[in-house]
């Protein structure tokens, strides 16, 4: 393979060639595809229940699943591209030197395409059960491909625009209204992925309406399938237009981090969520559990906060008289998978000396226990909604299943890196909703 001339791409090329080791690396990379393929029959058994015999109903159910997967893909990419261009691990090096802005954006786009490639294939796997309906497969593939491309390029474009918006006086009142307890600059960074998702989501919904019209006999509807692709093209253009803002990123991030540091110093020693539960933990685990609660809450407050907000979404989904709890369980399972992802995230943040210097007694178990404790917000919210609307039996069974899913996710998440956790989490969630 020839060496790229772009210095940013050359760095990526060299790191990739050394970080990835043989068959195991390839297996981890494509594991999500295998996991989705394995999970599909389990999820379809529930999500498409009652519509399998009716072709029109089945089309609608598959399309509905595809739209959800497309939105999920776009949401993940809007966050993933934030990590890639704003908070990338190479910022500490790149930020000290002049930056070849367009070359850097090109390299990041290529890296994003390569990194997110398996996710697109995994999403396309959801169309496999519809292989006898070519029109649906083509439309679904166009929608998923467009969502992937738009999520990726708009994610990079909008996230790159955020740092310069963060310091623009003209929108300061808007940022102040949105920021909550966060520094003003952080508001722009927090809401940028949401902005990317909003635009991509509109394009996906427009394309879906087009597909539905086409399926109902109006071929002009297919033209709307191009909406996500149009958004993707706009995203690429925005990414290159915004490239010059790259040099502003370190100052904005520096402002955000130093402000948080000042806030956190002031609240040191109190107000750490669930810290009080430590006193009931087994003696040997207590110091580790305390460390996880403090480090986890202060380091992943945004992630945990989003999980708690998502619990409301889970409860809303469960607030239904429709028989069974399959859909709400599937959603709750995915939300719990998000909480379980705190395992690999927190372990990646642990300092190297922790593993080198201190004995590891109970460390993984303490992390698992903390994840289970954090996940209770989602489990209890969903179970409570089911108790009111579906009765004691359904609620109890659902609660037990969700607790089981959470425990397994917590045990797995506290021990595996993200590459291993994601495919296993998909399977665990699918099994969790299997009738």
């Amino acid at each position: 393979m020839s060496r790229p001339a772009n210095p940013h791409a050359l760095v990526d090329f060299r790191i990739r060639s050394r970080e990835s080791f043989g068959v195991a690396a390839v297996a981890w990379r494509w594991a999500p595809v295998v996991a989705v393929a394995a999970a599909l029959p389990l999820v379809l058994g529930d999500g498409l229940a009652g519509s399998v015999a009716d072709p029109a109903g089945r089309r609608g159910a598959v399309l509905s699943l595809v739209v959800r997967v497309a939105l999920l893909l776009a949401a993940w990419l809007s966050l993933r591209t934030f990590d890639l261009v704003v908070r990338g691990p190479d910022r500490g090096v790149v930020d000290l030197h002049p930056i070849l802005a367009r070359a850097y954006v090109r390299a990041r786009l290529v890296a994003a395409v390569r990194g997110a490639g398996p996710a697109l294939v995994a999403a396309l796997v959801t169309l496999l059960p519809s292989w006898q309906d070519p029109a649906l497969v083509v439309a679904g593939a166009l929608l998923l491909g467009g969502a992937w491309a738009a999520g990726l390029s708009l994610g990079i474009g909008v996230n790159l625009a955020a740092p310069s918006l963060a310091v623009r006086d003209g929108i300061a009142p808007v940022l102040d209204a949105l920021r909550g307890p966060n520094p003003r600059a952080q508001a722009a960074l927090i809401w940028a992925p949401a902005g990317a998702l909003f635009v991509t989501g509109l394009a996906i919904l427009g394309a879906t309406a087009g597909i539905e019209a086409a399926m109902a006999g109006n071929p002009a509807g297919y033209a709307l399938c191009g909406l996500p692709w149009l958004a993707a093209a706009l995203g690429v253009r925005a990414a290159f237009v915004d490239a010059d803002t790259l040099a502003r990123i370190p100052a904005v991030l520096g402002e955000v981090e130093s402000t948080y540091a000042a806030v956190e110093a002031a609240e040191e020693g109190h107000r750490v969520y669930l810290e009080w539960t430590v006193r009931w933990a087994p003696g040997g685990w207590q110091p580790e559990l305390l460390r996880v609660f403090r480090h986890g809450w202060r380091g992943e407050r945004g992630w945990l906060g989003a999980s708690f907000l998502a619990a409301a979404l889970g409860a809303l989904s469960a607030w239904s008289d429709a028989p069974g709890a399959g859909r709400s369980l599937l959603l709750a399972g995915l939300l719990l998978a998000g909480v379980g992802a705190l395992g690999p995230r927190l372990r990646a943040r642990d300092p190297a000396w922790l593993a080198l210097v201190l004995p590891a007694t109970g460390r993984a178990w303490a992390l698992s226990l903390a994840i289970v404790a954090w996940g209770q917000v989602i489990v209890c919210a969903v179970a409570a909604a089911l108790l009111v609307r579906q009765g004691f039996g359904v609620a109890t069974l659902s609660w037990l299943r969700l607790e089981l899913v959470l425990v397994v996710l917590a045990v797995v998440g506290a021990r595996l890196p993200a590459a291993g956790y994601v495919p296993l989490a998909v399977l665990v969630c699918a099994l969790g909703v299997w009738r």
Partner: protein, 225 residues
Amino acid sequence: MIVATDVVKKFGRTTALAGVSLSVAAGERVALLGHNGAGKSTLMKLLAGQLLPGEGRVLLAGVDVSAAPARARSVLGYVPEEPILWEYLTARETLEYVVAVRGTGDLEAALALTGLGADADRLVREYSQGMRRKVAIAAALVAHPPVLVFDEALNGLDPPSALAIAEELGRRAAAGAAVLISTHVIDLVPRIADRVVVLRAGRVDAEFRVSDLGPEGLAGVFRRE
């Protein structure tokens, strides 16, 4: 070359810099001293564009760091207090990158200066802390930028390497560069600086030429407090 004018920086209710003014002329080497928490690293980060001043201005070679951060980077060689490097690149490859993005630089000379020559083709992840710091110093020096800002950069280096880099900073200053270096190693100050600025509680507390120091040297300055 380096001009900070009335710089104020607050973090919440904490004032890190309370109106600091400092200048380093072309050809001059200035050591920045002070207790932990005096504001040295905050000032260094402001100079390097890693933070925005709350009030005041920072200019590097006439370029406003806040208004034109991209241009400011091209005139600055900065070594942060805790350098971050690509773990899966070698020192040579890291410097190749820096030379490529800066468009100029003598890679072999920078490796030789920092004593990394024999280890230049090993991955950074195999390096000791001192060797990592040498890579960061080589990256700051390789393209001969006219402004050099070193934040505790010589800490943790073996004495011969620290002296070699101190001498190189002298040569760079003689060639017209402005050098600002913060350190806690006061014994090294006479070798790396012509002038000393002492920060205390976010203000410039004292400023003097190294040649004006009494027989007790810098130890005397801090002992009197």
